[in-house]
Structures are given as C-alpha cells and as structure tokens.
Amino acid sequence: MVSAVRIGIIGDFEPSYHSHFATNAALYDAATRLNVPLMVRWIPTPSLDNADAPKILDSWDGLIAGPGSPYKSFAGMLRGIEFARTRDWPFTGT
C-alpha cells in the first residue's frame, strides 16, 4: 500500500477563514489529480514554540506556513520556517 503524503500546515486553523479552507481544498485538488493519497493537518503555532518543535515537524513530508497572521505564536511559526529552511524540507508559505 502506498502511504499517504503527509502535509503539515503551520497555523491556527479557523474554519471561517476562506484562505484556510481554500488551502486544504487546493491540496486535495492537487492530490486527486496526481492520484496521491494525502493527509493534511494543521499544526498550531503555540505547539512549536518549544524545544520539541523539530520532533513534531520531522513527521511531515511537506510544511506550509499557513495564511492568517498575526499568529498565536510568531515564535512558533518562525521555528517551523527555520526547520524547513535549514533542513531542506519541502516548504511554502502563501
């Protein structure tokens, strides 16, 4: 069985934000077209503002800095971006 590609979206999900909903939807649009099983989860920014951040981030195959600033934890967001930048992890922020 092909295991799902795991995408972690760093951000504080609000179901009422169109951009948030659209981010999830666009990933699934692409996954359907590529015929790739996909798992998407949001990673709350405060959960990354500590030394365990790399452990949390390591389990994802791609990381996204989600829209919707200001974030609950700017420091958590920066840790996420730094992880992707310094460890060559697929990353985008839109």
Partner: protein, 159 residues
C-alpha cells in the same frame, strides 16, 4: 539576514527593523471590507527561478488576500541573505521569494489556493505536492535501510 530584531509591523513589537510592512498601495478591484490586496493582480515571474519553471511563463495573474508585504527597503538585504525574488508586481514590488539551493522553498504574497479548483488544480500546488511526495519516497528509502539494520535488536528486545 542577521537582523536580530527583524519583525513584521503587524506584531507591533517596537522593533526598529520591520521587514514586513503594510502594503503601500491597494490593488484595484479591492473587495469591499476586504484587505488592501483582495483581488487578482497581474505579475511578472522572474525567468530562471523555480517559480518560473512551475508557472511556465513570465506573465501570470494570481489572487491575493493580504494587507502586508515585503518592506522594499530591505530588498537588497533579503537578496544578500540568499533569497531570490521570483515574482514582482506591476510596480516592481516583491510578490514571491525562493531559496535557489533548496529542495522546495517558495513564499508568495499571493495565494494560489484561492484560484485552485477541483477540475483545475493550481500548478503551484501540484508542484509542491510532487516535491513532498519525492521527499517522502527518499526518506522512506533511508528509513527502510535503518529499519533493516535495527531489526535484530528490536527482536531481541521483544523476545
């Protein structure tokens, strides 16, 4: 960039280096009650960038939903730190940046997700997902090698 207190003006920290500041101009066709940039904008994708290889042309048009952007006063410092500018607005404003020697590291002011549709997935997200899938495959290969090395030990531990 080696600017210790670099911050976004949105955070109101009192930093002397706001590298992200409110957009100076609203986009035309701004939505009522929406942020300054809440419509579509034509932009120029810089040839030779990864974004260009994804979009396939210099001319593009994307959806926005934001109030803040790169403070152009820091553009040279961003570039000196290794970020390449991969898209510019009509007035030359920075609209996307990327790291050239990275597996996939692109940040955009526009939101390609806003124009993706089930019947027409946005090529940006197709490219991102392909990169993530490749990375997953590369990692699972490495992981499989590790697992086969550690198997005897694992057996001993459970037996």
């Amino acid at each position: 960039m080696k600017i210790a207190d670099a911050d976004s003006a949105e955070n109101n920290s009192g930093s002397s280096h706001y590298v992200i500041t409110p957009l100076s101009c609203s986009l035309p066709d701004r939505r009522e009650g929406g942020p300054k940039a809440s419509s579509e904008e034509r932009l120029k994708i810089v040839p030779g960038t990864r974004l260009h290889s994804i979009c396939g042309s210099e001319d593009d048009s994307e959806q926005y939903y934001c109030n803040y952007g790169v403070n152009e006063e820091y553009e040279k410092q961003f570039q000196a730190a290794g970020l390449h500018i991969s898209a510019r607005g009509i007035q030359g404003e920075t609209r996307a940046v990327e790291l050239p020697n990275h597996r996939f590291f692109i940040a955009t002011l526009f939101q390609p997700q806003l124009s993706s549709r089930p019947e027409a997935p946005h090529r940006f997200w197709l490219a991102f997902l392909r990169a993530a899938r490749q990375f997953q495959k590369a990692r699972s290969k490495r992981g499989a090698t590790r697992a086969s090395h550690s198997r005897p030990r694992a057996k001993a531990a459970t037996g």
